[in-house]
Amino acid sequence: MDFAGALSADHLKFLADGFWVTLSIAFISILLSFIIGILLGTLRYAQIPVVSRVVAIYVETIRNMPLLLIIFFTFFALPEVGIKLTVTQAAITALTVFESAMLAEIVRGGLNSIDKGQIEAARSSGLTYIQTLWHIVMPQALRRMVPPIVSQFISLLKDTSLCVIIALPEFMHNAQIIYAQNVNYIIPIFILVAFMYFIVNYALSLVARRLESRQA
């Protein structure tokens, strides 16, 4: 084991670059997924004929695919039909497609958790369905969605490492390049990588737990 060699200043800089890519890709993806997830989740919740059905099929299909397959698909299959994406674009697309399906279900669950009596009260006072959704259901549901969305973000942060297979220069990818040079680097680098993931994700889960207890 060569801790000093493995964790040299150059290596740490290289790992930090990778970690930054991991964080940014995860953040952009969760942001996009959140917007799409809200839309899909609401459409599914609203039980609009045909539309809700189509959304349900999309969400269920994506949710039951391995993320790895979706990453392969955006990077290797899309070019075959003329859509060429850079590694970064492919990674963000794959993660967003996958996460938006996950978030759609969180959104739908949040909306469904709001007591139907309030909806009846709002509708019986003459508010339209959209007004009721916007003023009564959504604000309360959003608050309830925060903790599961944070846990989903944690999963996403970890899942970003799957993009190593399309050579996205993220954390795992850069770590691999370093420990591939020297077997004595493997254990020190693994320890550092594990530590970094743990610190960030554990901090996030603490945030999620706090948000949850504040609601209760």
């Binding site: 009596g117 309030q118 009846e120 009260a121 006072s125 508010l127 309360q140």
Partner: protein, 242 residues
């Protein structure tokens, strides 16, 4: 004002409302009683189309409630509703609960809506709770806010769906007092309740329902003293003996 003409309703195979014929006039206070599952709440909820009817005709002020061309939101402005479980919006203050529909639906300014809200909060006796959240109020206070919320739309009709059934016994009186005052002011009210004191004091008419049918209707004094139907007699003896 409210007219049911041969109204039937089914939930799948279950026949919830059977050939309902009923006319409720302006200013009338009608109390609907009957065992649970008799269809009384369902009938009430048809009036503002929280439930749809399967056949027959239901009109409010001459407007067909279930007609495709009826603007249901416009119709509902005119019909306030109070629920068993209050159904206040927990994320909004008492004042916001009351002003939401007047500002959104009637396009009142915030100031105007708040002024009207305060007027009704005075009327139900809790103006000091204007800035509280529903969770900080007792059940009786929540239900009074719900009544104020309904009244703030200045409806011609108020529907009450078992408004005191979820309340602790010592809070029933305060809610009934508000309802009695409202009845005496000439509001058209349809009330599903088992509160006999209320029915005797302010109801113009009692409707007794069982198994989806209106079995008997009459003046409260006559009905309670001398119910014609055997089923009504049994029902009354059961609730009176408790």
């Amino acid at each position: 004002m409210i007219r049911f003409k041969s109204v039937n309703k089914y939930y799948g195979d279950f026949h919830v409302l059977k050939d309902i014929n009923l006319v409720i006039n302006k200013g009338e206070v009608v109390v609907v009683i009957g065992p649970s599952g008799s269809g009384k709440s369902t009938m009430l909820r048809c009036i503002n189309r929280l439930e749809t009817i399967s056949d027959g005709e239901l009109t409010v002020n001459g407007v067909k409630v279930n007609d495709k061309n009826t603007n249901i939101n416009e119709l509902r402005r005119n019909i306030g509703m109070v629920f068993q479980h209050f159904n206040l919006y927990p994320h909004k203050t008492v004042l916001e609960n009351i002003t939401l529909a007047p500002t959104m639906v009637l396009k009142q300014s915030k100031e105007e809506a708040e002024k009207i809200a305060m007027y009704y909060l005075e009327k139900v006796g809790i103006p000091d709770k204007a800035n509280s959240y529903p969770s900080q109020l007792s059940g009786g206070q929540q239900q009074r806010v719900a009544i104020a919320r309904g009244l703030a739309m200045k409806p011609e009709i108020m529907l009450f769906d078992e408004p005191t059934s979820a309340l602790d016994p010592e809070m029933i009186g305060e809610v009934l007092d508000v309802m009695k005052a409202l009845a005496k002011e000439g509001m058209t009210m349809v009330v599903v309740t088992h509160e006999m004191g209320f029915a005797k004091e302010v109801a113009d008419r009692i409707i007794f329902m069982d198994q989806g049918r209106i079995l008997e209707e009459g003046k409260p004094a006559d009905f309670y003293a001398n119910p014609k139907e055997e089923r009504a007699r049994v029902f009354l003896s059961r609730i009176l003996n408790h």
